[in-house]
Symmetry: C2
């Protein structure tokens, strides 16, 4: 039983504020993240904990963790090594822009 | 039936990159948001769509919307009027810092 599985864990790059990826954390993943400062998530498909970068080398050094007012969403601020997305792009939000800025300026990182 | 309910919708302030809040969007809420540029969410408790700020006045003018590589998480970049959180604070992530920056500098907005 995993009482609180938080799908709303967004991971941001420290300094730039780029939204790198979204992942799942339950209480144990959160505990490991807080105590080791290495971002640790719950894999729904593999049903196991995984430390980001453990196999890929694209690790996340955790700088800050915040919980929202309802206690069910997290923001994790990290220093990302290499690309954050498993597709090899810098972030998981690079490819699919559904709505561009109204002033039609070139789209940069999500701020 | 709401086939894709996205719990991972994080809402960011344009320019500063502050993470303001987390909300739920299904396809219809997303459609309304994209076509009106007014942030529209699905309320699980009330089971209805709601336009942010419609009753409070704390509206969100939508600047940009991005979908992640899995198609199940969204980032919405807005211009927020007034506080974003229903508790009256600027963001929903102001109160509960689980892990502070390792260098122990004063904690500013989530970046």
């Amino acid at each position: 039983m995993r009482p609180i599985l938080r799908p709303g864990t967004h991971v941001l790059q420290r300094g730039t504020g780029e939204v790198l990826m979204v992942a799942w954390m339950d209480d144990e993943a959160l505990h490991r993240t807080l105590t080791t400062r290495r971002a640790t998530y719950w894999s729904r498909s593999r049903e196991e904990y995984w430390v980001k970068g453990e196999s890929s080398g694209h690790a996340q050094a955790v700088h800050e963790v915040r919980l929202d007012c309802d206690g069910d969403a997290l923001v994790v601020v990290v220093d990302q090594t290499g690309p954050a997305c498993h597709t090899g792009t810098r972030t998981c939000f690079d490819a699919d822009v559904l709505l561009a800025p109204a002033d039609a300026q070139p789209s940069g990182p999500v701020r």
